[in-house]
Each structure stands twice: as C-alpha cells, then as structure tokens.
C-alpha cells in the first residue's frame, strides 16, 4: 500500500488536503478529500438579534459575502413575515447580479482559464493570470481588472462596503440610489455586458476551437452522471436571487421543485469521521455513499447543475449561448438532456456570467430602482424563516428560528460548496484513478489534471485563487506505509 498526499491545497479558509491510497498494483484504491476547518457560526449566532445576521454571516466567506448577506436578509424577511418593497428587491438583486458577474469573471480568468489558455501541462510559472496576459495581451488583463473593479464598485455603492456589505435588513434596504449613482451604475453595467461578449469570444477562440481541449472536456476521466440542483424562475429559467429550487435527475427529468422553506423535506446531510464538512444528499434517494448515477443521493449545485436544472436563461445573449452549449455537447439545444462533463462547468459559468451582466444592466435601467420606498417596517411577531439564494458555488440556505423578540434560538446553514462536497470528492477520485496507473510518472502535469477535477467546481477553497497569479500550491508525496517519503513531486 502506498499513499499520495496532496497537502496543502488552498481553499477559502486556506486549508485542505487530499489523501490518495494506492493498491499493490499501483492503482488508486481510495481517495479522501479532507476539510479540516470548522468555525461554528450556527451555534455562536444563537442569542444574537436576527436583524444582525446579514452583517454577521458575511464573515462566513469574504469572497462571496454577498451571497450570505442576501440569504440572511431573505431569511430575516421570512422570520418577520414581511414583504419588501419592489424597489428594495430590485436593488438587492442589482447588487447581487453585479457581484455574480465579477465573481464568475475572476474564476474564469484567474482560476480556470489559465489551464486552457496556457495548457494543462504548461510550465507552472506560466499557468496563471500573468502568463495569460503575456499570451493574450495586456488588453485582456486590463479588461479583467476593469470588470472586477466595476462589479465591486456597484456592490460598494449599493451595499456600503465592497467586502461584508451591510445595506440589507429585515424589510428592505437602507440605501437607495440618486439619479447620478444610477447613471454611473448603468455605465458600469454596460461595461460588464461588453465584458461578457468579450469573454464568450475568449472562450470560443481559446477553448472551443481547440480539439484537444474539447476532447479533454468530453473525456470519461472528468465525467460523472449526477443529479442537478438550481434555482429557477416561474418559467424554469436560471435565477440567482429568487425562485424555486428545481432538481433534475441524471436524465434531465424533474425529481422535485420546491420553495426554499421546504428544504428539510428534500435535503439532508451525512457525517463522516474524517472531515469537518458534512455531505448533503437528496432525501428522496437517500445517502448511498460516494457513488454517482440514478439511484445515488449525490447531486451537484454548480453553474453546470443550474443550467441542467433549468430550461433556459432569462436574457437574450445568455439564452443564445445556452442553446449553443447544449447543441454542442448533447445535440439538443433545448437543454432537456443534461451535460455531465465536469469541465463543461467552465463554459456554463461563462453562460451565467453573460446572464448576470445582462441582468445587471436590465435592473440598472429599471426606473423603479430610483424609488424612495425601500423599507417595510416589520410588524408581525418574528418566529421562523428560511432564506435561499444561488451562491456562485451552489444553493445557499439560511434557516433561522427566533423567540418573539427576534432573538435567535436556532440556526441551520447549508453553504454553497457544501452541496458539492461529495461530488468534488468523487471527481478528484475519478481523476486520480484515470490518471495514476502503475508505472506512470507523477508529473506536474498529472497533478494539475487532478487539480482540474475540483477546480471546475470553483469550490470555496478555490475562491482563494481569485487573485494574482492564481496558482494552487500542491505537493504529492509517495510514502511507504511507515510514512517514509519515497518520492515527491512539487510545483515549482
């Protein structure tokens, strides 16, 4: 028995490792993705006033604090049984769409993109955003930095702060827009839409026109047939802020469509001894272990899963790209046949990026966002509420129970990446199984290809790579059973 350890990998909280066990034939016997982190928000929020949750839970994640802010605000609205004014909803959604555009952009260019632009086996020193700028031109770098800055600026105008925004409270938002601010946001949103079009072209030129990459995307090593979860509007189109959660099975048939407050009827979490992070699964299927397929309870909640769970996009450019996505990968542009290739998640992310940018502009041009009616003062006795949004990395659920003063008695959270925990573990294992064989040299390129299996998910530990130059640290050590290091391969 030999053991490969990939330790450390970066993730949101900066800690994570992969243990791969090899059998005597030199093949992968088992593989564990271990999350050694726990902070305990669900317990220490008890006793806090519920209206503070949109400000406290942002600290779960500084990369996607917007997602926690929105889920918490929606849960607060539900706890107080208050309907927020239409303008408040649109302002929240405007902030959220801008955030989504920036977040997907950073993942596409800084995390996922370099693997394709520079090649999965390119020298490590080049396979990052700096290398990409060198290859694609300084203009690309300027566009990426500009798009991130534009998205952040919209968030700051509406939320008060770029990171850990504060403006949503039970009943609405505390910050409206002046005409000048609105005009500025329209200009920024136009910039984001242009950036979306540009990104489609980059995707096309760099990835889709390269047969090697298309073959890589379609290969069995990166394919898992799983159920798909995502939030949809009344026409079953992708929505990030509001709607019902739809789950389709491996063949694209609807398993269930439910309101966020019903989540406990449909989702449960499994515990393992070797990871602090739990493993959500579909209750209708039950926990059957780390297996894919129709009978498994494992599902994905990623950009790819959201497209699979939906029947289209709500904006024109994104819809056109949605159709091209499915026509290319399944032959059916309707999207009724799901795509199961994990690496296609990058393409799905770009479809979502375009939608988020178009929706940002749509909302910015909506005259109602200038309305001064931004708050409904809650009058009902607070008790219990669920808030749900689509975080970039999966469906995010906040569930609060309070006393009659609105002081929290119970808190339950199912966070974006947690949904994908089992799927990520399985994707890493399958990639390792497909790539590590007897006699195969453990090369840098091989390590990177294992990494690509989880990078597609943009999991929270990969939020880390929303940065320059976007390199994941990785060490694989080949150990004898007594722990002696037999061989080691590191990124240089």
């Amino acid at each position: 028995m030999q053991r490969l350890q990939i330790d450390p990998i970066t993730r949101l909280e900066g800690h994570g490792k992969i243990d791969i066990f090899l059998n005597d034939q030199g093949e992968v016997a088992d593989c564990f993705f271990i999350v050694p982190e726990l902070r305990g928000f669900e317990t220490f929020c008890v006793g806090r006033p519920v209206e503070e949750m949109p400000r406290i839970t942002t600290r779960i994640c500084g990369v996607c604090s917007e997602a926690h802010h929105m889920a918490a605000a929606k849960a607060c609205d539900a706890v107080y049984h208050v309907a927020i004014p239409p303008a408040a909803k649109k302002l929240r959604e405007l902030l959220y769409s801008a955030f989504f555009t920036g977040d997907h952009a950073t993942h596409f260019y800084i995390l996922g993109g370099p693997d394709f632009v520079m090649g999965p086996e390119a020298p490590v020193a080049e396979r990052n955003i700096i290398g990409m700028i060198g290859k694609l031109g300084v203009d690309v770098g300027r566009k990426v930095i500009g798009a991130r800055a534009a998205a952040h600026e919209i968030v700051k105008i509406l939320g008060g702060k770029t990171i850990h925004m504060v403006s949503s409270i039970p009943g609405g938002v505390t910050k409206g827009l002046t005409v000048e601010e609105r005009d500025h946001i329209v200009a920024l949103a136009n910039q984001l839409v242009e950036f979306g079009k540009f990104t489609l072209k980059v995707l096309d030129d760099v990835v889709l026109k390269n047969r090697t990459y298309v073959d890589l995307i379609l290969s069995d090593t990166y394919t898992h047939k799983m159920h798909s979860m995502g939030t949809v509007d009344e026409n079953n189109r992708v929505n990030f802020y509001d709607g019902k959660i739809r789950v389709v099975d491996c063949d694209g048939r609807e398993i269930v469509k439910y309101h966020g407050r019903e989540y406990l009827q449909h989702v449960a979490e499994h515990v393992e001894r070797w990871s602090y992070l739990k493993f959500p699964f579909l209750k209708a299927k039950g926990w059957k272990g780390f297996v894919d397929g129709m009978d498994s309870g494992v599902y994905r909640a990623t950009p790819l899963a959201r497209l699979n769970a939906a029947e289209g996009m709500a904006t024109p450019l994104a819809q056109a790209e949605y159709e091209r996505f499915y026509e290319t990968l399944t032959g059916d542009r309707s999207g009724r046949t799901p795509v199961h290739q994990t690496l296609a998640t990058h393409w799905a992310r770009v479809v979502e990026l375009v939608y988020a940018a178009e929706h940002t502009l749509e909302l910015a041009k909506d005259e109602e966002i200038l309305s001064p009616n931004l708050r409904t003062i809650p009058t009902a006795t607070p008790d219990e509420g669920v808030g749900q949004v689509e975080a970039p990395r999966g469906t995010l659920t906040h569930h609060y129970i309070t006393d009659e003063r609105g002081i929290l008695k119970k808190v339950n959270l199912i966070v974006g990446t947690t949904n994908n925990h089992a799927a990520i573990s399985m994707s890493i294992k399958k990639a390792a199984q497909g790539l590590i064989k007897r006699g195969v040299e453990i090369t840098e390129g091989l390590l990177n290809k294992i990494e690509m299996a989880f990078r597609a998910y943009d999991p929270c530990f990969a939020c880390a790579t929303h940065s320059l130059p976007g390199q994941m640290p990785i060490v694989v050590r080949l150990r004898a059973p007594d722990g002696t290091i037999l061989a080691e391969q590191r990124r240089e």
């Binding site: 450390p8 317990t43 505390t174 119970k410 790579t465």
Partner: protein, 335 residues
C-alpha cells in the same frame, strides 16, 4: 521566488488561519498596486496567490521572512502550528485584520462551548441525518491508512494570545487604502533603511474614533429609548445614536471612513477599540452610561432592556480580547 544573489529582495509572507478570506480579497483590492508589492518583495509564501508550501517555510532559516501578514484567528491546532512556525521564520509578524488582532466574529464562539458546537452541527441540526452519532475525529483508521484532522479547540484566540506580535492592522477587513498605506510605509522603511516604529503599534488606522469620521451631525445625546435598526427609518442627517440606534462608533477606532453609518446602519466596531482603550465593550458601556437620559434606576433599567444583545454587540469583533474572556455555563467556566 524572484530574488537574485546580488540583490536579494525583502521576503514577504501572507497567511490565513481561521478567517473568511476577506482580508486576502482586501489585499487584492489595492488593484494594480499589488504588482508594485510583487516587484518589491520576494513573495515566499502566500497560499491564496501562489505556489506556497508549508514544507518550504519549514526549510527556511529562522527569521528568513522579513515581513509576515497573518490574518485569521486561532481556532484549531493547525492554526496554532502555523502561527508558531511563521513567528519563528518572520522578523516582523503582523496581526492583519480583526480576526488576528482581536478574534473578530469567529470569537463570538467564546460565548458557547466546543461541545455545544459539535452537538448541534453533527447531531441536532435539522438537516443532519446521523443515527450512529458519528463525529469528526483527529485520527481515523481506515483499512488503507490513518486520516487526520486538526484539533478543534474550546476557545478562539487572537494571534498575540498564541505568539508574540509586532504590529496590528485592524479592520474587518482592513480597507484597501489602509492596506496600501501600510505596505507603502513598510516598503519605504525597508528601501531607505529607516528605523521601524515601536513594536505593539496599530498600523493602518486612525487615532480617533469612528464618530470623528462620521458625517452625520451629532447633538448632545439624550437617549430615552433604544431601537433596533429594522424598527425605524432613521433621519439621514442625524447621528444614529442620537436617534436611539445602538452604534459602536464612540468605542471604535477611526480608519474605515465610517462606511456603515453612511448607508444608514450603525457601526459594529470592526476597527477595534480606540487608542489607549483595552476593552472595547467596557468603553461602549461607559459611552452609553453618559448619554442615557434618566436618573431613575427603574427607568434606566427599562431603557437598557432595549439593548437586546450586549455581549454580541459590544464585543462583536473583540471577544477574544474581552476582559470577561469567557462566558460561564451552569456555574462552570468553559476555558
């Protein structure tokens, strides 16, 4: 990575322990100036951004790193191990951001217990299905080998409660312009051989209170009743505390630009206590004591009842440094 034999650059490390990632994103929000930082320093360890290996840090000489910006609280054995390792390797260790400085929101966990946390997450939470009451273990034997997790501790600590710290940068997260101001100063000192400021200093913040940066006009405070932020629509041109909304501005160091009050929400204290104040919560209590408009003990009690979560509000960001330290349970402290 970029150092040359002839002209070695100062070595910079950035690390995160128990944190949310916001400090790392805030560093990136200095935009293209990050390239100046990368040009000046040899970035030897920065897991968020580059090829960074603990083993490489372990292999360095002691004090080989010139500057280490450490964010995140100390929550697990792994966090502490990294704090000790980086203290040994770094000449200057900076507690960067509220978590490392004073525990921040993760330290609200010091108002509950490890056991309660684990019981809820792995047994009692409504979405958990765990009939065999499985708990994550620091060591799990499998037929193939042992899997390991770090120890999850009873108490969340700030960085200087574990190792010696040279400087502090407050904020949740520190604002980008403050981060750049700190880095620019440090680069200037290193470039020109200037003396370092005295250790223990708070960098990247102001020397007044948040109220001094707030644009809302203040009056003489006479508070008859506290209201919660969602209960009223405040006058945009008046101090929030004057209107009865509990605002921690008087007990919070300046430096952020009073961003929260600018959008109609009270300060919650993320920049930590003002200069010469050790305990932020006590400072807040003292500030409130002077503005409650009553001499009648009964009425005062009634007014104070409007403060629904004193510990979680006054110590929202500084629980690890609070004088009270730990909340008591059933007559027993849980330290």
């Amino acid at each position: 990575m970029n150092s040359t034999q002839s002209n070695p650059k100062p070595k910079l490390a950035l690390y995160w322990a128990a944190s949310c990632g916001g400090c790392e994103i805030a560093v990136l929000d200095i935009q293209d100036k990050i390239l100046d930082v990368a040009a000046f320093f040899d970035l030897v360890f920065w897991p968020v951004a580059m090829d960074a290996k603990i083993k490489d840090v372990e292999a360095m000489d002691d004090q080989a790193i010139d500057l280490c910006l450490f964010n995140g609280a100390i929550r697990t054995s792994e966090n502490e191990h990294m704090a000790q390792l980086l203290r040994r390797k770094a000449k200057i260790l900076v507690a960067f951001g509220s978590c490392a400085y004073e525990g921040c929101i993760p330290a609200l966990s010091n108002t509950t217990t490890r056991q309660a946390t684990l019981d809820w997450i792995y047994r009692d939470s409504p979405s958990t299905v765990n009939p065999e009451n499985v708990r994550p273990q620091t060591g799990t034997d499998t037929p193939l080998g042992k899997l390991e997790l770090p120890e999850f501790w009873e108490t969340v600590r700030a960085l200087d409660q574990v190792v010696e710290v040279d400087y502090y940068v407050p904020g949740c997260p520190p604002q980008a312009h403050q981060i750049w101001a700190v880095l620019e100063t440090v680069m200037d000192i290193m470039k020109n051989g200037k003396p370092l400021p005295p250790p223990g200093l708070v960098l990247g913040a102001g020397d007044k209170t948040c109220c001094d940066e707030c644009l809302r006009p203040r009056e003489e405070k006479k508070i008859k009743k506290f209201v919660r932020p969602h209960e009223i629509i405040p006058d945009p041109n008046r101090c929030l505390l004057d209107q009865g909304i509990l605002c921690c501005g008087p007990a919070t160091r300046s430096g952020c630009g009073a961003l929260c009050p600018a959008v109609g929400l009270p300060c919650r204290g993320c920049y930590g206590p003002p200069p010469n104040v050790h305990d932020q919560g006590t400072k807040m209590i003292s500030a409130l004591a002077s503005v409650i408009d009553s001499e009648d003990p009964e009425e005062i009690d009634k007014i104070l009842d409007g403060i629904v979560d004193p510990v979680g509000t006054f110590y929202r960001f500084s629980m690890a440094k609070a004088t009270l330290g730990r909340v008591q349970f059933n007559g027993k402290t849980s330290m």
